[in-house]
């Protein structure tokens, strides 16, 4: 550039400007403005608080991180620091935050007047309940839930059994896990699986016994199939009555008829003995044999010898098993080879297929037996793993014992020593607990739906956190009569604590709006013995209040009225809670409920119960820190250590050194587990000429059980809007049915008009149909039957006989 050219005036101005910019830039850098390295700066997504919680839905117990902004849940992420799911979730888990925000959320207590409801205050609601109980305490029943948190279950349990001396408290888990419980008791002498989810990470063979984990426990199923896609060799075997999404991922599909599982299990045991491939050493060291005592049926049965056991199994040749189950003999032999191979690590999974079964206790015992007989037990990967459906069926129902015959910590009301221990822990007067078991679920509702003068001695039921109006079997017998003006049930009173209007609130006399999930504190226990805790993060809407508070408030109202049952041994209120300065806090007043942590108080009281059956729980504060801990949690060297594999030396701190495997709660008191023989027995109802189809019911991935929460989540509702019946294409053709056509399904108990889905998500074989139960406008339980397993009292939802008729449009 040469200096000949005189700069023009505007160029001068521009240069001045540029110089000024240069100076400004230099000054900014020199002054250090605006380039602080944000090492310790706040998150870009400012204002979102993330806290941990277990997912609200299934028994897998995934941990989530909940994002709260301005007092509302705005996002959910899988918790990467959780061992259960390692950051992964399923579609329900991702959308669990939306469950709180359905527009028709219940917000005020409602009292029925004729065909309508009147909004009332909580004071009036509590008084109404107290009136009913005071008038006839022995006619009051509490219907609880496997979705109850542990403290909620503790409160109801203490209120009924330790307060009113009333054992009519039973949960909806009676309808899902009772047979698993009796199967465990019959085999090991104590409830709940010995293995844990770690088994899924190392097993070589995974067998599904009539369940659909691809949809129902998706995160657990993915744990296995993701291993396979990374190159590991894993064999998946699906034993089922219809093809499902799980089947597509399995190498072997064994299609069986209802109750075929009994024959198959016996067939495997038969082959193990015939081929000499059973684990002789394991059996001789750790097992005894039992057969049912037909004179006096109970969970102890009668002891038999190995020779007897072999004789009983003789008829169950592969060919005979094929006759009984429909599974080809070759595939039975394949299963026999699999179990006969000591090198393989075999995990069996089951859920409702084996539990909702009129021989549920038997089949549970048989599958445990097959694992014990073949020695596939006690080492990582070798596990008969019963999966739980609900998030706290284990934690609350089975461990707190909210069943009509049970007390917390694996105790029973019939045992005097157990009653005394419970009375001591609860600090209630000796003799307070009633030794007679109360009514189990089916009996409770049957009694409720029977007029008082005809022996219906349950007059009031309080339902919390469940939807019996949709989920009880045979609704026309066990629930719907409540709504029938001519049924003679005018004096019966139904109280329902829930979050949304449901098929149950439809017939309720008093509806109580409740808080859900992260609107309250909570502790739950999942399928692998893992107890998990969370804190309240957002407020419930309107006047909705915690279920636990509701129970305590009613208890206090009765206490004020002088009911002796509400006083403990020292005459003080049963639910007295003290703060850190040892002063009592009036937690029955809602304004003061969160002055202390009532959950912690109830949990610490309940913890004492857990030592008897070595299901030790750690202090509440430990669960605050962890993403759950698997019991028994034992303090070693100042640390609380969880137990991965129960009964196995080295893993379980209660196993004596040198024993290898010790079933220290053996029902025969010799550290041995029981291998049972049970014969094959036909289902309670089978298709015949009048009702030629077998009806199976179940669930779908998108909807949690009765759909009261998930159907209000748009993403889930749109994906699966409503109920349908699955039917085989050839059966459909025989009836002239096309996709979407409506059919009338009838059983001996009820009828239903429902659309057809052919070649849909599941593929039933010819002669079988399947209806999911999530749709409250299509109540499949009008059709199902209420026959129960003799020991567990659990009904069978998988086998009812129905007929089909096409409905003209």
């Amino acid at each position: 550039m040469n200096g000949d050219l005189q700069p023009r005036p505007d160029t001068v101005q521009r240069r001045q400007f540029i110089k000024a910019s240069a100076m400004a830039a230099a000054a900014a850098v020199a002054g250090g403005t605006g380039f602080l390295l944000p090492i310790l700066a706040t998150e870009p997504a400012a204002g979102v608080q993330w806290e941990k919680a277990p997912c609200r839905f299934c028994g897998t117990g995934c941990h989530v991180q909940v994002g709260v902004q301005d007092g509302k849940v705005v996002a959910v992420a899988g918790d990467r620091n959780a061992e259960v799911n390692k950051g992964l979730l399923c579609v329900k888990g991702y959308h669990v935050g939306s469950a709180l925000y359905g527009k028709d959320r219940l917000t005020k207590p409602l009292l029925r007047e004729g065909a309508q409801y009147r909004e009332i205050s909580w004071e009036e609601a509590i008084k109404t309940i107290a009136d009913r109980i005071e008038a006839a305490p022995e006619r009051f029943a509490f219907y609880g839930s496997g979705q109850w948190t542990i403290p909620e279950g503790c409160a109801a349990q203490k209120f009924m059994k330790g307060g009113l001396s009333n054992n009519h408290i039973d949960p909806n888990a009676r309808l899902c896990m009772a047979s698993a419980v009796t199967g465990f008791l019959a085999t090991y002498g104590v409830d709940e699986p010995a293995g844990c989810y770690d088994d899924l990470d190392v097993c070589d063979v995974l067998i599904m016994w009539g369940n659909n984990p691809a949809e129902m426990h998706p995160v657990l199923f993915s744990r296995v199939i993701d291993r396979r896609s990374r190159g590991e060799k894993i064999t998946l075997i699906d034993i089922s009555t219809r093809r499902t999404r799980t089947t597509e991922a399995c190498q072997h599909y064994l299609e069986m008829k209802g109750h075929g599982d009994l024959a198959i299990a016996n067939g495997i045991a038969h082959l193990l003995i015939r081929n000499g491939t059973y684990n002789r050493k394991f059996v001789e060291s750790f097992c005894s044999f039992k057969a049912p005592d037909d004179q006096n049926p109970n969970l102890h049965g009668k002891p038999i010898s190995f020779a007897d056991y072999q004789t009983f199994l003789e008829p169950y040749t592969p060919e005979h098993v094929e006759e009984l189950s429909g599974v080809p003999a070759d595939q039975i032999r394949m299963l026999g080879d699999v179990f006969g191979n000591p090198e393989l690590k075999i995990t069996s999974l089951w859920c409702m297929g084996m539990n909702q079964h009129t021989r549920g206790t038997a089949i549970n015992s048989l599958v445990h037996g097959v694992h014990l007989l073949s020695g596939h037990f006690g080492t990582p990967g070798n596990a008969p793993t019963s999966l739980t459906g609900q998030p706290s069926a284990c934690g609350t129902v089975r461990e707190v014992g909210t069943l009509s015959h049970a007390l917390p910590g694996g105790r029973v009301v019939a045992d005097a020593e157990h009653r005394q221990q419970a009375e001591d822990f609860w600090n209630v007067p000796a003799g307070r607990i009633n030794p007679t078991p109360g009514y189990h679920t089916v009996k409770m509702w049957e009694s409720f739906c029977t007029p008082t003068d005809k022996g219906g001695d349950i007059g009031t039921i309080w339902v919390q956190v469940t939807n019996p109006g949709q989920t009880l079997p045979n609704l026309n017998k066990l629930f719907n009569p409540k709504g029938d003006n001519k049924a003679g049930l005018e004096d019966k009173f139904l109280i329902v604590s829930d979050v949304y209007p449901t098929a149950t609130t439809r017939l309720a006399d008093l509806i109580l709006p409740s808080a859900m999930w992260v609107e309250k504190n909570g502790v739950v226990g999942n399928s692998e013995r893992r107890t998990q805790q969370w804190f309240k993060m957002v407020d419930p809407p309107g006047d909705a209040r915690d279920d636990c508070w509701q129970t305590i408030a009613v208890a206090h109202e009765l206490f004020k009225r002088g009911t002796d049952g509400m006083k403990d041994r020292d005459g003080r209120f049963l639910f007295e809670v003290k703060d850190n300065d040892n002063k009592p806090v009036p937690v029955w007043e809602w304004e003061h409920y969160y002055d202390v942590n009532v959950d912690e108080h109830l949990f610490e009281e309940y913890r004492q119960f857990t030592r008897l059956k070595h299901k030790d729980l750690a202090p509440y504060s430990e669960y605050v820190k962890a993403r759950g801990l698997r019991w028994p949690v034992v303090e070693t060297d100042g640390q609380w250590k969880e137990t991965h594999f129960r009964f196995s030396e080295g893993f379980d701190p209660y196993v004596e050194e040198g024993t290898g495997i010790q079933f220290y709660h053996s029902s025969t008191h010799n550290d041995r587990a029981q291998i049972w023989f049970h014969p094959w027995i036909a289902p309670a109802e089978v298709p015949d000429d009048d009702y030629p189809f077998m009806l199976c019911t179940g669930r779908v991935l998108e909807h949690w059980h009765s759909g009261s929460m998930t159907r209000r989540i748009p993403e889930l509702s749109r994906a699966m809007p409503g109920g349908y019946v699955e039917i085989h294409a050839e059966d459909a053709a025989a009836y002239g049915l096309r996709n979407g056509d409506k059919v009338k399904m009838e059983s001996r108990r009820g009828a239903l008009v429902i659309p057809v889905w052919i070649d849909g998500r599941g593929k039933p074989p010819r002669g079988t149909v399947f209806i999911p139960f999530f749709d409250e406008t299509l109540l499949v339980n009008d059709l199902t039957l209420d026959a129960v397993d003799p020991f567990s009292k659990q009904p069978d939802y998988k086998k009812s006989a129905v007929r089909i008729r096409k409905v003209q449009p």
């Binding site: 160029t11 110089k19 910019s21 240069a22 100076m23 830039a25 000054a27 020199a30 250090g32």
Partner: protein
């Protein structure tokens, strides 16, 4: 060419102001006011060509009391008047 630079000064026992005055006496150089940090001095250089700019920067660097010089802003010009401007990266952290 116009450039904005920042000189970091070191305390050699004398007055910082003397150092600043000496820099200000250099041709084509204008000093600005120091900000919160008295050792960081913003400077503009107005030189006729890139070589001169480089030379000036080097002389700045060699000034007594100057620890180092960071270039912050350079405005390129050519005869037709079209311009491009660049911001250089972060200076050495202080």
């Amino acid at each position: 060419m116009i450039a904005g630079v920042v000189a970091t000064l070191e305390d050699l026992g004398g007055n910082l102001q003397d150092v600043i005055d000496e820099i200000a006496r250099m041709p084509c150089v204008e000093t600005g006011d120091v900000g919160p940090n008295p050792r960081r001095l913003p400077i503009t250089i107005d030189s006729p060509n890139p070589n001169a700019l480089e030379e000036t920067t080097r002389r700045l660097q060699e000034c007594r009391g100057v620890a180092f010089v960071d270039v912050v802003f350079v405005h390129f010009e050519d005869e037709s008047g079209s311009t491009t401007a660049t911001h250089s990266g972060k200076p050495n952290s202080s």
